[in-house]
Amino acid sequence: MSGQWFSIEFTLTKRHLGLILIAGGVLAAAGMIAAEVFDPESGGFGALQKMGVAVGAAAVLVGLTLLPLGSRPA
């Protein structure tokens, strides 16, 4: 499958894009929360971090809605 990704003909599908958005969104939100857990003295869970979590959550939502679109080209 990984070899297919490096084919000259391969293009990402809506499902691939959805999975990437879900992964990216989870990483972003988790990263913001982890930063607070590992460095609680950095000044609190500020507005920028909240925005990061919100954007991450939005990316996950959009990603989930792309999954039913299957193999349509992204």
């Binding site: 990704w5 490096f6 084919s7 000259i8 003909e9 391969f10 293009t11 990402l12 894009l17 500020g46 507005a47 920028l48 925005m51 959009v62 809605t65 792309l66 039913p68 679109l69 080209p73 992204a74």
Partner: protein, 630 residues
Amino acid sequence: MITRTPHTVGQWASRALFALAILLLVGHLIVYLHYAIGLMRFPFDYDQGEGFELVDTRLFSEGQWPYRDNEVYPFYASNYPPLFHVILVPFVWIFGPEYWYGRLIGFLGTLVTASTISYIVYREGRHRPLAIMSGLAFLASNYIYHVGPLFRQHMTMVMFETLSIAVLAYVTGIETPRRRRRVMILGLLLLLAAGYTKQLAIATCIAVFGFLFIRNPRRSLIWGGLFAAAAGALFFWIDLATGGEWWKNIISANVNQYFFTQFTGLFKQFFRLHRVLVIMAGLLVIYEVYFTRLSLYSIWWILALANATLAGKWGAGDSYFATAIAASCVLAGIFAARTVHGAWEFPADHPYIRRLGGLRQAASARRAGLVTLAGLLIPALYIYYGVSVVKLPTKGAVFGPLSEALGLESSYWDRYAFYDSAGWTAGYATIGHVPTQQDIDNGWRIVDILRESDLPAMSEEAGFSLRAGKDVVTNPTQLKNLYENDLFDPANLIAAIQAHNFGVVVFRAQFYPPPVLDAVYDAYYPSEAVWLNGFNYELWRPGPPQAERDTFAANLADLTPGETITQPLSLPFEPAAHWLPHALNYRDWPVDAAAEPDTDSCMIWTGAEITVQLCPADSGSTLVLAGLKE
């Protein structure tokens, strides 16, 4: 007999609305042109930092790097990549260091960007009026108006970004390998140019390679590798040639304090002004995400908007939205063209369309009516946008009566005669007016003051030093950024200030590292203020020499109630009379600002704990400090 059908009436009404929209946007273009020409005639810094761009250009014209050690005289370095300045080098060779050609190139760059936007919209939508309106909408934006004709590199970056997007949008669809390679190289060269004009182009770089990755990961990785190698080689060459000062000055120094409220304020302002474009752009992006393939334009728009969060950095502002505005104009224009053509396609077998089958059929059945409605709604939206972004002078032979007829008053009261529908929020530059002849005259007055001394001046703006034929000393905001990142030791600069190596210090906003300001407060005194371009420029002159200032400080520290201490000063009486109240207040010995005449030739200041008498003397002046009894 001609029977006018509703369809024909709708077409005529649509044409009238399109004509009105174009007329309104052309009006914005005229105001912009007026502003640009007015700026080109102004011989000093108009916006903070313009003079330093000119200094960088001059250094390049002399074969020198502007990325240098800030801790040695003249304590100057650039914090921007070189391409904009290099482009202007021939102008320095021909005309010498002048502001007008940098502002002209910036202005022409916005015209190229607008033309590219129009070209893209016409290529995608085949609607000539909307293509024209899309380009004009870019120039009509308050933000683009603000920064377009400045001697700054930002809009040149946006020009290269937009050109790159235009070239690369269909590169993956070119079937001939040789042609595809040539187009890719051209597009990536434009992208490289954008990045080496200003670092913010990183978002467009990510957009391009994100798009290429979606279309074909292999091609993205190959070309991404080549691009990274080229950009990296250039980066490391400059860093090597400048002994590491390149990295320090353009990367490390740009890590600034972030103000979230500055970003949110600017974003709310940006959305209020451009909501028509942003909503149309957003709808097109949603359509592409779910119903067709994602275009490079959409990915660019998303990344440009995300990048605009950097507008919350100290020193950033509305210009950080310029790329997002260009992308919004492109997408909105494409959306508008598709809408007026009725060219939206929703596949019947789409999982979400299947659930909305009835709606799709209803829309298809009413297509003609919807297209007619679109023909009225779309130009009306651009008219709404055109009214949202109104800005114009409120004085002058033409603009005075026009602003009066429109009921518009200056947004800046007596400071500037200029109305701006944007209002103000932190980070929004207070510019947009055309400088007056009085501003020009006051600028030359400051230059004359600098020329009174043979010594260099430490000026917060480079223009006065350039005009006086003196070295440009310090790039204040760069020093401040470096200092806050522990990358600048101000000791040498402080020593120079304390030793009165500068004939005068010129402040506008005092954007220097705190220890540097402290040194100026100690060694210099505010002599006079000159009102220029809506700002108070303070001219600080040298106080007594270091040894006398130290004696003065020691005398104040030793002074007891009822005691009197006499100190001779080498500073003549008149400047000493300006220096003294400042020096006392600076050392926490507050006195009344106004001095009382003591004798025919002496002056006396009174505070809660001290009286100070100043008298002229052969050697300069004499100071008598008297501690008040409790």
